[in-house]
């Protein structure tokens, strides 16, 4: 794993640091699922107030299950406030095929607010 840490910013490439074949929500879908990605790369730095940049390029493809679980799950399951996620998380894509996913991910994060655990700040 070669996750770059620069000051308070963490940069992670899904294809290079996690898997070229990310798929599914949980372990029952396979080893490179959204829940695992979220817990391994996103939760800790975001909860500590660190900026996280996620690079989407070079993966074979993304299904909505993986993206919703990995990113929507930050708000829905981990209880991280929506404002914090929007402020600290940056999703980037250089290839044209990957850019549409940025909008989708933002949509999943926004929609997850309605399902956030009760009592989470």
């Amino acid at each position: 794993m070669s996750v770059a840490h620069q000051d308070m910013t963490t940069k992670v490439s899904i294809a290079k640091d996690f898997s070229r074949y990310p798929a599914g929500r949980t372990d029952s879908d396979g080893p490179y699922n959204g829940q695992k990605f979220r817990r391994k790369f996103l939760v800790e730095p975001l909860k500590k107030g660190r900026q996280v940049t996620v690079v989407l390029d070079d993966a074979s493809g993304y299904g909505s299950s993986f993206l919703e679980e990995a990113f929507g799950g930050l708000v829905r399951t981990e209880g991280i406030p929506l404002e914090d996620v929007k402020r600290l998380l940056h999703v980037v894509a250089h290839g044209a095929e990957y850019k549409p996913y940025i909008t989708l991910i933002n949509l999943y994060i926004e929609s997850a607010e309605a399902c956030r655990p009760i009592g989470a700040s």
Partner: protein, 354 residues
């Protein structure tokens, strides 16, 4: 050594014969009981006739769900029925009759044969008279991996310089969407260059596969998905197919929590209109999940079609319904049809022209 009187010897000999015949009668009775339980019809005098011991299925000459749907569905249902019960003493499927086979037809056939092998692991199917099969059909089925199911060790003569290439199928009993990713990378892209928005195609197939294993099956013993495709170099058409042998979308969507609301919004009054029920699944992306952040399976399927501008088609065949979209010269139209034949499963097909 004990000596017996002649009378005693005679008695013992007759008793031995009687005991032997009793044993034979008992064995025959047991055999009859077993046959009755397996449902095999008995001929006259309790003996099996030659026709009772053998089940023979002749494949249609054209295995194409478009031009010969009734016969194709009949074949699938007969194979499904044969694999569901006790295996007959002899089971013979005549492939020599097939003159033309499409990717969906070949995949459905392969799936039924794989199902048979799973249901009857000690009575796996074997290919016979392969040299007598139509050479083009034989070559295409071999490309798809058909003969791996039939334990064929001899090399299958393959035709070269053909316009059509069928891509080896993959199948899993688990969700395993990664297998779908790998199939695109290692199989589809080996045959087809320049797949438009391949990243989205991978996402669509991946979600279709997850959807199958999460919602398609209820209590069936064989719960799998199959994935295959083909390329026609003359028309530059690419086809990708996902197939399952589940209960079908028209059946599944009626059990959804929001079914009543969905039916009202989409004005679904006739539950025999399976095309409309598939359209409903498309329209709202409904699944049987009760969580609002889930239920995006068919949306992803459609998203790929919407992400490309190529002429092509997306359609779903399930039970008696068929629904989808076709794009020709930039214009998108709907495909909606109901058939008399009942296809037990769901087939998702993406087709596009490079």
């Amino acid at each position: 050594m004990k000596r017996f009187s002649p009378g005693r010897k005679d008695y013992l000999a007759k008793h031995a014969v009687w005991s032997f015949r009793q044993g034979q009668r008992h064995k025959e009775w047991k055999r009859t009981q077993r046959r009755r339980q397996s449902g095999v019809r008995l001929g006259t005098k309790g003996k099996l006739t030659a026709s009772d011991q053998e089940v023979s299925i002749v494949c249609p000459d054209v295995l194409d769900l478009d031009s010969n749907r009734t016969e194709c569905v009949k074949l699938v249902n007969r194979l499904r029925g044969a694999s569901s019960g006790q295996p007959p003493a002899r089971f013979f499927v005549d492939f020599k009759s097939i003159r033309e086979v499409t990717v969906p037809g070949a995949l459905l056939l392969a799936a039924e044969l794989q199902r048979w092998n799973i249901m009857h692991p000690t009575a796996k199917l074997k290919a016979v008279d392969v040299v007598e099969w139509d050479p083009t059909v034989r070559s295409l089925l071999a490309q798809m991996g058909f003969f791996d199911l039939l334990d064929v060790t001899d090399e299958i003569p393959m035709l070269t310089h053909t316009e059509k290439i069928y891509i080896p199928f993959t199948s899993r009993a688990k969700r395993n969407p990664q297998a779908a990713h790998e199939w695109v990378d290692n199989n589809l892209k080996n045959v087809v260059d320049g797949i438009p928005m391949s990243v989205q195609l991978v996402g669509a197939i991946s979600e279709a596969v997850i959807n199958v294993m999460e919602h398609a099956y209820k209590k069936q013993r064989v719960r799998r998905w199959w994935l295959s495709g083909g390329f026609d170099s003359s028309s530059k058409k690419v086809r990708v197919i996902v197939w399952d042998q589940g209960i079908g979308i028209p059946e599944r969507i009626k059990t959804h929590d929001s079914w009543g609301k969905l039916a009202r919004i989409l004005k679904i009054f006739d539950l025999t209109n399976h095309a409309k029920l598939i359209e409903a699944a498309f329209a709202v992306g409904k699944t049987s999940s009760q969580k609002p952040y889930k239920g995006k399976g068919l949306s992803d399927v459609k998203m790929y079609f919407e992400s490309i501008n190529n002429d092509g088609m997306l359609r779903v065949l399930s039970r008696r319904g068929e629904f989808g979209y076709r794009r020709k010269n930039g214009h998108v139209g709907k495909i909606s049809d109901n058939h008399l034949s009942d296809l037990h499963g769901t087939l998702i097909e993406w087709e596009f022209v490079l």
